[in-house]
Amino acid sequence: MNETIYRSHVLVCTGTGCVSSGAKDLKTTLEKELTAKDMSGEVKIVETGCHGFCEKGPIMIIYPEGVFYCEVNEKDVKEIVDEHLLKGRTVERLLFKEPMTEEQIPSYQDIDFYKKQQRISLKNCGHIDPESIDEYIAVGGYEAAGKALTLMEPQEIIDELKESGLRGRGGGGFPTGLKWQFARNTESDKKYVICNADEGDPGAFMDRSLLEGDPHGIIEGMMIAAYAIGADEAYVYVRAEYPLAITRLEKAIQDAEEYGLLGENIFDSGFNFKLHIKEGAGAFVCGEETALMNSIEGKRGMPKPRPPYPSVSGLWGKPTNINNVETFANVPYIIKEGAEAFSSIGTESSAGTKVFALTGKINNTGLVEVPMGTTLREVIFEIGGGLDKNKKFKAVQTGGPSGGCLPEEYLNLPIDYDSLLDAGTMMGSGGMVVMDEDSCMVDVARFFLNFTQSESCGKCTPCREGTKRMLEILNRITEGEGREGDIELLEELGDHIKSTSLCGLGKSAPNPVLSTITHFRKEYEAHINHQNCPAGACQDLLSTYVIAAEDCIGCGKCAKVCPVDAISGEIKGVFAIDEDVCIACGACEPVCPVDAISQG
């Protein structure tokens, strides 16, 4: 352990988002600069997990002042060292500017994006070094596990969980305490705990960020679960596409083993706990619990009919408890602070907070954690900073490919498990894709169905054949070949697939289509009846552009911007567009100085 007390801590975010925007080089440059200025003994550089504000990465926070710098690049390092770390002057140009007010905000707690969040599961992400078990312990880590193992009976823990109202954060929303109770009640000489980190929803990355930013938090949650149900072995099933998460988790397991926080007779309680990592190959269906267990056993990742549920016969036929990463991340808080502290947050039916991955046409892309019951409007406009380029809000897609789209009327809806289900969508893992006026809802539905269709494992007929037929219909609608009755056919097929598929993938795959038909039926009708895409997104339905020969002055500006070289002509002569080549992208229209170009 390093005993030096530093006067300043510089936190550099090295989550995947910031690493891809250059955080690693930033850190190296900072180290060099500090050494050159003979300050490496005074200033400590800490690599942290994701701060959630990936839009503004790479992110750097300097303590003790708590100044938040964003979009920092290597060239800024010298100025930060000279000005801030040496002379104590804030580098104002690197401060965050609120998009609405243009106001510069030095302190990170004061930025709207963070101010309106309440962080429980993400509390350590971006605050501690995920590769240091000491820092995790310094902020109170493993105290909940210590309390559970030495002062509580397994049944007490389960009762506490039940009382807290925690529900599964992977999307199902099943009460966690009850799930643990089932696994505890099954008599067996061997039981397992599994952490489902097979995060497959396009756009969702909270599980990755949690594993990267606070791996010990997940280990602690799993340990408490294992003790409560009577298991001594566990797996984290994580996608191989998350190399940083795997590296950090491996390091965390190794450190915990060294400290005797994993292994035998932990806290002298007689409890043994062994943790393994299983890397998944990236099949979406392996996020389904029975398929996931097949995959761990080395079999093909396909779901099995339930019952028997995993709590009765799970991994290798033994009782097994499976929870999502975010669910486990909430467990230490509940054990440490008590059920009441947790249930006082959120709504009556959905306690606590939920992490959402904000993506799409929104200003502040990133991860946000808010109390259940926060409205969609607050998340999108207050925390998310509104829509990109001030476009008009059209819809928000929640729940990933299994969820649905909600239009503007639902913006004041308080978000919880039940309110979203009532509105025809679902919580899912917490993906939130924001769409503006330029998004075609038929195309969006087609995108998500294309994803689920290609990820269908093919075991049951409704999902394998049904989603394929639905996709064919959607394809022909977006190509202008839609037929009378297609909408009704989609609805009928969708209902059948939902009620007869084997697993959650098929049961939810039609949701994006059905919800867009409910809320945006007119768009479907416009595509089918008038071969028209109101949002102007479906290429095949757009008419090509023409140049009015009598107005053309022969400047040639249009020909320069055409991405497919469809425009030809001689300077000072007359230009023309080849309609067979034109892709109707519209790039030429605004550059014409005499407005001679229009859609024919």
Binding site: M1, N2, I5, Y6, R7, S8, H9, L11, E42, K44, Y63, P64, E65, G66, L85, L86, K87, G88, R89, Q109, H127, I128, D134, E135, I137, A138, V139, G140, Y142, E143, G146, K147, T150, L151, Y259, G260, L261, I266, F267, D268
Partner: protein, 121 residues
């Protein structure tokens, strides 16, 4: 790890360093680190403060600031105790630092002979 007590002991050992990231109220020592301050020896003052804070194991926030215009009186430091007025000390040597920390920061008695300004915020 054999007991909660052992975990707490480890926590106490490691949490001191984490206090840097705690935004709560505690005494603050601000060192003038403008070019004038650095030229007059502010780096040595800063190092002396850090050493003293470490040897005495006290919970203090040490930050820097730029030139405040009294270049003549550098090196300058400000001491701000929670809820008290901000005291500026000037013309400091490294031995003055020890005195200021033991008398003012720890015991709350301003070192009158070194004070060059007071301001309430």
């Amino acid at each position: 790890m054999k007991s909660l007590a052992e975990l707490k002991e480890l926590r106490d050992k490691v949490k001191k360093d984490m206090k840097k990231r705690d935004q709560g109220t505690r005494p603050e020592i601000i060192v003038g680190m403008g070019t004038c301050g650095i030229a007059a020896g502010a780096r040595e003052i800063l190092k002396a403060i850090l050493e003293e804070v470490e040897t005495r194991d006290i919970d203090v926030r040490v930050t820097q600031t730029g030139c405040i215009g009294m270049c003549e009186k550098e090196p300058l430091i400000d001491v701000r105790m929670p809820g008290k007025e901000r005291i500026t000390y000037g013309n400091l040597s490294t031995s003055d630092v020890k005195e200021i920390i033991s008398k003012h920061v720890i015991n709350g008695n301003v070192v009158q002979e070194l004070v060059i300004a007071r301001h309430s915020e």
